[in-house]
């Protein structure tokens, strides 16, 4: 089936990529390992904390957090009940592992994503450069970058986190950018006219006014991070994803379903908490009606 009209470009790309990854592994392996270790350090601490804590304390925290975000008792009770249900499914430990991975991934997404979003809102050119990269991050199948990630960082939690960040950060970057650009120009101008520095404008006007949009970005990032849980478990991240994966491998539909339910519950939990927090942050918009 060889045809002359198709020169073989695939092979050189393949080879070049492999050589590049090898080059990275050989020359910067130590650097990647150091990075990997420091990330792991935080992750392990958090995971240990969540897993060793008395479930009652965790349930209490979920309740307090929901109430602080929403000020609604029914929602709070519902969320505590849902969390309790995960324990009743026998997946408490796995859920704690998943939450730890997800929180670290979301934290990294925020640390990277918000500054990138702000830069994109400031510079037309930067946005033009960033936009195709974000498209790529969201559309390219995760396995494509999981292979080199696993080579660089070894199997386990770190490549899982990186894969999650790559997949989950784009909506936060986009919504931060959008939120800041949608801030009323006259308000920003007023701030400038009063002699505010760029940092004062950002901190006192743009970020607070873009907060609903940023919160929505964080919410979406969390949802997408949870969507990555099963894939992440394939490269050695433990947690609820592993439960599903094992169900798949062992042809055990029941286990798959139980794991799936736990993931959905976690998704609802984080969704409601961040949504309510976002709404309360813009309470000033609604008072006047």
């Amino acid at each position: 089936m060889d045809s002359d009209i198709f020169p073989n470009i695939g092979k050189p790309i393949k080879n070049a990529t492999n050589e590049f990854v090898d080059y990275l592994v050989i020359n910067f392996g130590d650097g990647f390992e150091a990075f990997s270790n420091s990330l792991l350090f935080f992750l392990v601490k958090l995971e240990r904390l969540l897993r060793s804590a008395d479930p009652l304390i965790i349930l209490l925290c979920v309740g307090l957090l929901t109430f602080a975000a929403s000020r609604r008792l029914t929602l709070t009770a519902g969320m505590v009940g849902a969390m309790w249900f995960i324990g009743a499914l026998g997946l408490w430990q796995q859920a704690m592992q998943t939450i730890a991975i997800m929180l670290v991934a979301v934290a990294i997404s925020i640390i990277i994503g918000i500054p990138l979003g702000i830069s994109a809102a400031r510079s037309e050119r930067f946005r033009a450069l960033l936009s195709p990269v974000l498209d790529l991050m969201q559309t390219i199948p995760s396995f494509v970058y999981l292979i080199p990630a696993a080579m660089l960082f070894g199997l386990g939690k770190v490549p899982a986190i990186l894969a999650t960040v790559i997949y989950a950060a784009p909506p936060l970057i986009r919504l931060t950018d959008l939120g800041i650009r949608m801030v009323d120009g006259e308000v920003v101008e007023a701030s400038r006219a009063f002699g505010a520095t760029r940092w004062q404008i950002l901190k006192g006007v743009q970020i607070p006014l873009a907060m609903p949009s940023i919160m929505q970005g964080i919410n979406q990032t969390m949802m997408m991070a949870l969507a990555m849980v099963v894939i992440a478990s394939m490269i050695g991240a433990r947690g609820v994803g592993e439960t599903v994966l094992l169900g798949l491998q062992r042809n055990d539909s029941g286990q798959g379903l139980v794991g799936g339910i736990a993931i959905v519950i976690l998704a609802i939990l984080f969704d409601r908490i961040t949504q309510s927090a976002g709404q309360r942050m813009q309470a000033y918009r609604n008072i006047g009606g």
Binding site: V187, A190, A193, G195
Partner: protein, 421 residues
């Protein structure tokens, strides 16, 4: 050249677009806005604008939407940089300021009030009013004390902990005004500050501004597209059309001596009676009697053909006399009446009265009404005919005929009068 102008704008041209530099020579060569847009895609915002704004005056910049008013006022605090030209504030070239100096300059020299208020929606009224001071790093208690004073000054006590969305438009703009004043700037820039308000609220705000200005003596640059508003509050008015200044003058000059058809068309529909004040239209008193010799007064009046004489004693107006009354007094040898006894005080108007206020008095009297200043001195007279003539707007065709009394003539005559007394 006495004192330095507060703001001096010298030959500012502003072209919007990435190719502004290439477009500049074409504008300088006289290319108009449409042509420039068609040829280069650049938008001409302002063309060779020069202005002098004096300390303590309310300087109004008026023009239709898109005439470049916002662009012009944003040059004063350099929210917009000119393509060419110079802006001096207190004699300092603002284009020479570094970023840090510019921030400092905006914090101290001038504050701005915006058309759609530009309030921070996530902050309460008091936090909004204190915003300028917060930017400057003033401590919280101190800035909130100052903010509270200004909230009271604009009549918003009790609303300090509300959010802007809880207030009406007029109240929100009061917050905007208080926020600008809390910085205690020399200069207040107001870009269509009252345009978004209902007519009634708008005139209240105009009054409040004029009232505040009487206490504060700031230099106020006020932008509007509404000529009535311009005439009502402006000490000076600049009329802007398509980025070019058409005319700069006092309200009376704009109304009575429009320099081109554009301004003439603008002023035609204005309610002149409400805008013009007596001092701009009065005539010098034709016959002043400053002694009490009745016979001499009578002969002077007869010689000059004046029917009425205005009696003045110790620089104070005492009343008017007619030829008839004086003749009777001369004939009646037994009378010992002085000219002061004969003078009838009658009604008078003051310099600052609008024609609308002066009109009833003028129409009632059968003689030209005396115009007095605060000290009671006679400054001029106002006759029915003059008032009638002034209130008729100039029409394009019979312009020469209806052209009202020239202001410059009055000024000159007043000067000779001053010199004489």
């Amino acid at each position: 050249m006495g004192t330095m102008a507060k703001i001096e704008v010298k030959n500012i041209t502003k072209i919007f677009g990435s190719n502004a530099a290439q477009a500049l020579p074409k504008v300088e060569a006289g290319m108009g806005k449409e042509e420039l847009l068609a040829e280069t895609g650049a938008i001409l915002g302002l063309k060779d604008v020069s202005l002098t704004i004096e300390e303590g005056e309310i300087f109004v910049i008026m023009g239709l939407s898109g005439s470049g008013k916002s662009t012009l006022i944003r040059h004063f605090n350099r929210l917009i940089d000119p393509t060419a030209g110079q802006i001096l504030v207190d004699g300092n070239d603002v284009m020479k300021l570094s970023n840090k100096e510019l921030e400092q300059f905006r914090r101290q020299k001038m504050s701005m009030v915006f058309q759609r208020f530009g309030l921070l929606p996530h902050r309460t009224v008091i936090q909004n009013v204190a915003y300028g001071l917060e930017i400057q790093g003033v401590a919280k208690t101190e800035r909130e004390t100052t903010a509270m004073e200004w909230i009271e000054a604009v009549g918003l006590n009790g609303f300090e902990n509300k959010y802007p969305s809880q207030l009406s438009g007029g109240m929100q703009q009061r917050v905007g005004l208080a926020r600008a004043l809390a910085n205690n700037p020399d200069i207040l820039l107001m870009d269509e500050a009252f345009s978004a308000l209902d007519p009634l609220i708008r005139s209240q705000m105009q009054d409040q501004l004029v009232e505040l200005q009487e206490k504060l003596h700031k230099t106020i640059v006020f932008i509007t597209h509404d000529l009535d508003e311009a005439l009502r509050i402006g000490d000076k008015i600049a009329i802007l059309k398509d980025g070019v200044i058409s005319q700069v003058g006092t309200p009376a000059e704009i109304l009575l001596e429009p320099e081109d058809d554009y301004v003439r068309a603008f002023v035609r529909d204005v309610n002149r009676a409400r805008v013009l004040t007596v001092d701009t239209v009065m005539q010098p008193p034709a016959m002043r009697i400053t002694h009490d010799n009745i016979e001499r007064a009578l002969s002077e009046m007869v010689r000059r053909g004046e029917e009425y004489g205005y009696v003045i004693h110790n620089k104070e107006y005492r009343g008017y006399v007619t030829q008839e009354v004086l003749e009777e007094a001369v004939e009646d040898k037994s009378s010992s009446a002085t000219i002061y006894d004969l003078a009838v005080e009658g009604n008078s108007v003051t310099l600052e009265d609008t024609l609308e206020e002066a009109l009833p008095v003028t129409l009632e009297a059968d003689h030209p009404v005396p115009v007095l200043d605060e000290s009671g001195a006679l400054k001029g007279i106002l006759s029915q005919e003059e008032v009638g003539q002034i209130l008729v707007p100039p029409s394009e065709d019979d312009e020469a005929e209806s052209k009202p009394v020239s202001l410059k003539v009055i000024d000159k005559e007043e000067e000779t009068l001053k010199a004489a007394s």
